[in-house]
């Protein structure tokens, strides 16, 4: 009997275009949309050399050190500046026309001329301050101790950083994967559409089809469990395909704990299907009302988990931490993030335990409602 019900249920669900769209195609489409949007963000974040000018003067031409340093940082692919050597008038005109972010005056002394403050202007100023400090220090050392010339030269060439950058976790902090973690969390919860159908098709007070199944000589809960197995397997396959698509096609980094990532996906899928079944059993309204409830709750959870705007997750965690613990999408997305970012599994474990508590709650609630053998009205 298991195989008979499972096989036919499998056919039904895989042929149901609307369910397949919401549980499988929609997350894939959304991931592509995210991918292209993120690519544009990446491109806009690439550092562009700053357009500057230096006023051509005898002092500049004779200041070999400064000229050499300036030319060095203005050549090559990783250059800091696009340098133009110009007369004072031309430099002023370029600045006026916003063709450069600032120009360097060299006579009587090195100084920066800008029209506004900003990141580019700060970088130019920082560069000049650094140069002037180093130049001054070298001059002072050499005037007091000329014998140290070679030692000083070696020290300047062998630049040492005395502060070590220590990452807080095993991965670099990159917000981009988080969008995809919340997306896969949403996709897991979209399994609710399969759970919805499972209950709708065994509750005699919901559909004539369910009444026919209730009148058959198969225990209702057995029918529910057998057909729910088909739902769960289909949804797990969909989620694993989405995961593979994200990892292998869109190159999203899920960290090194592949086993735990898959386990989280399975737990998410189970929670999603059980959530749909619970709402379907609990809400005594039409199928369309139930679908509306499921879509609106999952999308709200996804929003609060930071799928559309990552800062909202921070705001919720800071001001209403309770909301982040009762949001299955957030728990799932945070589980994926924990696996990617942290060395320790403690945060991941906490998220997963709470998520499974939700699944237990949904399953128990569904059982208590669905176990009814007769209905008050049909």
């Amino acid at each position: 009997m298991f195989w008979h019900i499972f096989k036919n249920r499998f056919k039904c669900l895989t042929r149901d275009k609307i369910t397949v769209f919401w549980t499988f195609m929609f997350p894939i489409i959304l991931s592509l949309f995210f991918h292209f949007t993120m690519s544009n963000i990446d491109r806009s974040n690439i550092f562009k050399p700053i357009d500057i000018a230096v006023v051509d003067s005898n002092l500049y031409r004779n200041d070999v050190n400064f000229r050499k340093v300036l030319e060095d940082v203005s050549t090559g692919e990783d250059r800091l500046f696009n340098l133009t050597v110009a007369s004072r008038e031309d430099a002023a005109r370029l600045l006026e026309n916003k063709e450069i972010d600032g120009y360097i005056e060299t006579d009587p002394q090195i100084c920066l001329i800008v029209k506004k403050s900003g990141l580019a202007q700060s970088i130019i100023k920082n560069f000049l301050d650094n140069y002037l400090q180093t130049f001054s220090a070298v001059n002072t050392i050499l005037s007091q101790n000329p014998a140290k010339r070679h030692e000083l030269s070696a020290a300047l060439n062998d630049y040492k950083a005395y502060i070590r950058e220590v990452p807080p976790a095993k991965a670099k902090l990159d917000i981009k994967p988080y969008f995809f973690y919340s997306l896969i969390a949403m996709a897991c919860l979209y399994g609710c559409f399969l759970g919805l159908r499972e209950v709708a098709d065994i509750q005699a007070d919901i559909s004539p089809l369910a009444a026919r199944i209730n009148a058959s000589p198969v225990h209702k809960l057995k029918t529910f469990l057998y057909s729910s197995s088909a739902s769960l397997i289909i949804h797990i396959a969909e989620i694993l395909t989405l995961l593979a698509f994200l990892v292998f096609v869109l190159k999203i980094d899920f960290g090194e704990n592949t086993g735990f990532v898959i386990l989280t996906s399975l737990a998410g899928s189970f929670t999603g299907v059980s959530y749909g079944a619970f709402v379907s059993a609990l809400v005594k309204k039409s199928l369309n009302v139930k679908i509306a409830i499921l879509i609106s709750t999952v999308m709200t959870w996804s929003f609060l988990a930071g799928m559309m705007y990552t800062d909202i997750k921070y705001i919720i965690t800071k001001n209403l931490p309770f909301l982040s613990w009762v949001n299955p999408v957030n728990l799932l997305a945070d589980s994926f993030f924990s696996l990617y970012f942290y060395d320790s599994l403690s945060r991941y474990a906490l998220n997963t335990i709470i998520l499974l508590l939700f699944a237990v709650l949904f399953c128990s609630g569904t059982y208590l409602i669905v176990r009814r053998r007769k209905y008050a009205s049909l």
Binding site: N8, P208, N214, A215, S216, P217, H219, K374
Partner: protein, 310 residues
């Protein structure tokens, strides 16, 4: 007895849907539950199938109390719902196979039964069709095939011909008679009196959740005083003449809605002749004349004072 229903009471709040309903169904008969919409037919069926809670009463099927987990009883029941209850994502063949498979586990036997159900309902040319591609008549036939494929001893059909064209309807009715000939006991609910009259061996007429009359169609018709209904196309008939018609010994009622004169008379043998003699003697011009025996609608009308289709 195949079904025994005793003092069944079902309330929806203040509304009494079934009011101490009692009836029985004998093996091998086609038992009709006839009544207008809202009379309690479907509620009674759902209670019999143990889908619906009821407040009071007793239901036995095959002499055993019916309950939701009486799987041995359910195994021998076939249901044809009022609304088509099939999976839209499964083909005609797959649907019949699925529902048959809930009753029959032997694969070879199941295949044979599915093929026979397809043959029986004439769906051979549509086995690969999805339900959405079927006409209403074919859909109803699929609904029936899903309910009877496992060859149940008892088939419960709840208005299976609603919204079906006359050709498909006749085919369905002939199919029901054939199922009965093959040995199935059938409970048939409908508000179409002609269908019930045509196929049912015994009939219970329901109104407001009660059985108001029960018996064979002849027994039911014998319960009322009307023996014959004569309809005459007549012109120039006066009020006085209608009154004199009403005063005739065999006439129960006479109504004139120009040009149709409707006369209901008792069970006498020469009613038509007497009416014709009266029309000729009174020099009343008349055209077409029909004489018909009372219908179940007349039975319902006389007992309740309202039409079955009200």
């Amino acid at each position: 007895m195949v079904i025994e229903v005793k003092n069944l009471v079902k309330r929806y709040g203040d509304l009494i849907a079934l009011d101490h309903l009692s009836f029985y169904v004998k093996e091998g008969e086609i038992f009709g539950l006839l009544g207008p919409n809202g009379s309690g037919k479907t509620t009674a069926i759902n209670c019999i199938l143990s889908l619906l809670k009821y407040d009071k009463g007793e239901i036995k099927i095959f002499s055993r109390p019916m309950s939701p987990d009486a799987y041995d009883i359910k195994r021998n029941i076939g249901i044809v719902m009022q609304n088509v209850a099939v999976y839209n994502e499964l083909t005609v063949y797959e649907n019949i196979d699925y529902f048959c498979g809930l009753y029959i586990t032997d694969r070879v036997l199941k295949k044979r039964m599915v093929d026979e159900a397809i043959e029986f309902t004439g769906l051979n040319d549509y086995i690969k069709f999805y339900p959405k591609k079927l006409s209403e008549g074919l859909l109803r036939r699929l609904n029936i095939a899903c309910g009877i494929a496992h060859k149940p001893k008892l088939i419960i059909m709840d208005e299976p011909t609603v919204a079906v064209d006359p050709q498909s309807r006749n085919r369905i009715l002939e199919g029901i008679l054939e199922l009965n000939r093959q040995g199935a006991t059938i409970v048939y609910t409908s508000h179409y009196m002609d269908e019930v009259e045509k196929i049912c061996s015994r009939i219970a007429i329901l109104d407001k959740g009660k059985v108001i009359a029960e018996g064979t169609k002849d027994e039911l018709k014998a319960m009322i005083s009307t023996g014959e209904k004569i309809t005459v196309e007549a012109w120039n008939i006066s009020g006085d003449q209608i009154q004199r018609l009403r005063n005739m010994p065999s006439v129960i009622s006479a109504e004139y809605d120009r040009p149709v004169l409707t006369i209901k008379s008792d069970k006498g043998r020469n009613n038509l002749e007497e009416v014709l003699t009266f029309l000729r003697n009174e020099n009343i011009q008349f055209g077409k004349i029909y004489s018909e025996l009372p219908t179940l609608n007349d039975v319902f009308l006389e007992i309740t004072g309202k039409e079955l289709r009200d």
